[in-house]
């Protein structure tokens, strides 16, 4: 009896296990192996050497790029959290009917299901030298000459990150807020708490799991990104993902693999710390 139940569970879990084994575990193992290989200009060859890591850790560029990656992650996190929390708070506690809540929530979700590349491209007419932002500011007399730092800069990179990923904060925070027992909030009001006090001492603590899940999403998406940084900075800024993709385009796979291993360890370390604060399975 016990056995057959187990067997059914394994059969049901098998497809997922198989896909993850072939396309997640095997690739990671492969990357770790190749990170010890050597490379010539045209090909890679099996070896067991630490050259790639030695080069990686010996180069000041590595530290600069990792620092830039953390900077992008942190700034994006701060903005997405601020915006995402406010939006979720409005949706959860200030929209009265459930139908309206559903509609507004869907409006927030839909862009997530459209192309990221297109959403990046769509900033060009806004931020370019002759773009809407510069034209508007100049016609208001705020500036005399077009601002050069709007496009192809850290500013545009972070703007795009916030644009693409705020949703990953809104959804989990909203989800947790909807599960808050309203009697707790009423109790706070009955005891004379102001709206702000209730927000800070009741709602924020109870929303922490959602904030953590959103943080995990945003931080990992930004840290693993290479395409947003490349596109929005016009190839002028670097993060770790771009370091890897540059090596790939030069066919330096072992070097790319070593950087990838370090990046993966960094990301998993960050996640491990964040997971200490939340039990994901309970929060869904």
């Amino acid at each position: 009896m016990f056995k057959s139940r187990d067997l059914i569970a394994y059969a049901q879990a098998a497809p997922l296990g198989l896909v993850l084994l072939c396309f997640l575990v095997a690739p990671i193992i492969m990357i770790v192996i190749v990170s010890f290989w050597g490379a010539t200009e045209f090909s890679i060859y099996p070896a067991f050497q630490f050259d790639n890591y030695a080069f990686l850790f010996g180069s000041p560029v590595t530290y600069k790029v990792f620092l830039a990656t953390f900077k992008y992650a942190f700034i994006t996190w701060a903005f997405t959290l601020g915006i995402g929390f406010t939006v979720a708070y409005f949706l959860a506690f200030y929209v009265r009917t459930q139908a309206m809540q559903t509609v507004l929530f869907l409006l927030c979700t839909i862009p997530f299901l459209t192309s990221n590349i297109i959403r990046m491209i769509s900033w060009i007419p806004f931020l370019g030298r002759n773009g809407i932002a510069n034209q508007t500011l100049m016609s208001w007399g705020v500036i005399d000459a077009p601002l050069e730092w709007l496009l192809y800069s850290d500013f545009s990179v972070i703007l795009a990150f916030v644009h693409l990923y705020t949703l990953f904060m809104v959804v989990p925070i909203f989800n947790t807020m909807m599960r808050i027992d309203t009697s707790l909030i009423e109790a706070a009001y009955d005891n004379g708490a102001t709206a702000l006090q209730t927000l800070w001492h009741v709602i924020v603590p109870l929303t922490k799991p959602g904030i953590m899940i959103g943080t995990i999403f945003v931080v990992t998406l930004v840290m693993g990104d290479f395409i947003t940084v490349r596109f929005m900075s016009g190839s002028q800024k670097a993060n770790v993902g771009r370091l890897i993709s540059n090596d790939i385009s030069l066919l330096q796979y072992p070097s790319a693999a070593a950087t990838a291993v370090v990046l993966l360890c960094t990301v998993l370390l960050v996640i491990a710390v964040l997971l200490r604060f939340v039990n994901i399975r309970k929060e869904l």
Partner: protein, 278 residues
């Protein structure tokens, strides 16, 4: 809170600004894609025309975008069906306690948070070393599943956490086999959420870029094709393409929403026989 407080108006204003921030840029390229034939990438509009849409239908002007679209569409359907099947079976498995469920769960989470370029690189290397050719329907397909499956699984967790087990117990008490219970009780109840899983599977695949980059082979999917265009196309034709593919995505979303809505209505009509007598 009988009358709207000041906080409400402040927050509603913030929310409106957020929506403008979210949709404004996309609407802008929607407008700019109707640039006149001599218009550029930014305002002002230099006349109004459908010139750039027409350009899309001339093969030589922009490369093989229709082939790319067909591939992305086919791949989206493949990923959608597989995601549905794997997410549902795995969702059912996770309701029971089995040895290794923790490992599998954390693997799925890893699959979600791992930098996409690692999947791209790793799968590419494996195919390379095995002497296999990377192709969108094999390596590309598998790589995309590592992105869509965790989402499908998370939705299934959310569904089953709220699932009333007494329905199954009732079925079992009345002599239903485990398969009958799944087929006639569980699946119909979770059907609307399955539509959501399908929608995620399709659209995430259709727009996936980073995991397909090194795994699609010589035939590009649409996002890869579009990204290629960004480096060498400097006319509003790229806006026209962006507008069309966004409209296509929106169309897909509407179809899925209509499916959920229609299902809800059918249930409301036929779901209960209360008061009908015997």
């Amino acid at each position: 809170m009988e009358t709207r407080s000041r906080a409400f108006y402040l927050l509603a204003g913030f929310f409106t600004l957020f929506l403008i921030f979210l949709y404004g840029p996309t609407l802008t390229i929607g407008i700019l894609s109707f640039q006149g034939p001599r218009g550029g990438l930014t305002f002002p509009m230099n006349g109004v025309s459908t010139h750039w849409f027409a350009e899309l239908f001339q093969q030589q002007a922009v490369g093989d975008i229709w082939g790319a679209f067909r591939r992305s569409f086919a791949l989206g359907l493949m990923v959608m069906v597989s995601t549905l099947f794997v997410a549902v079976t795995a969702g059912l498995a996770f309701r029971k306690k089995f040895t290794g469920s923790g490992v599998l769960f954390y693997l799925a989470i890893t699959s979600l948070v791992i930098p996409s370029i690692l999947i791209s690189l790793g799968v590419g290397l494996i195919f390379n070393q095995l002497g296999l050719k990377v192709h969108w329907a094999t390596s590309g397909f598998g790589s995309q599943l590592t992105w869509t499956l965790p989402f499908g699984l998370l939705i299934m967790f959310a569904v089953f956490n709220r699932f009333d087990k007494s329905f199954e117990e009732a079925a079992r008490d009345q002599g239903a086999t485990p398969w009958q219970t799944i087929r006639f009780v569980i699946l119909p109840i979770i059907a609307p959420s399955l539509i959501g899983v399908g929608l995620f599977g399709f659209t995430l695949s259709y727009d996936e870029f980073a995991r397909t980059l090194l795994t699609a082979g010589s035939y590009n999917t649409l996002p890869l094709e579009i990204f290629g265009m960004t480096t060498n196309v400097t006319t509003p034709v790229i806006y026209a393409l962006g507008t069309l593919t966004t409209l296509f995505s929106l169309g897909i979303i509407v179809v899925f929403l209509l499916l959920v809505w229609g299902m809800g209505r059918r249930r409301a009509r036929r779901g209960s026989d209360a008061g009908q007598g015997l």
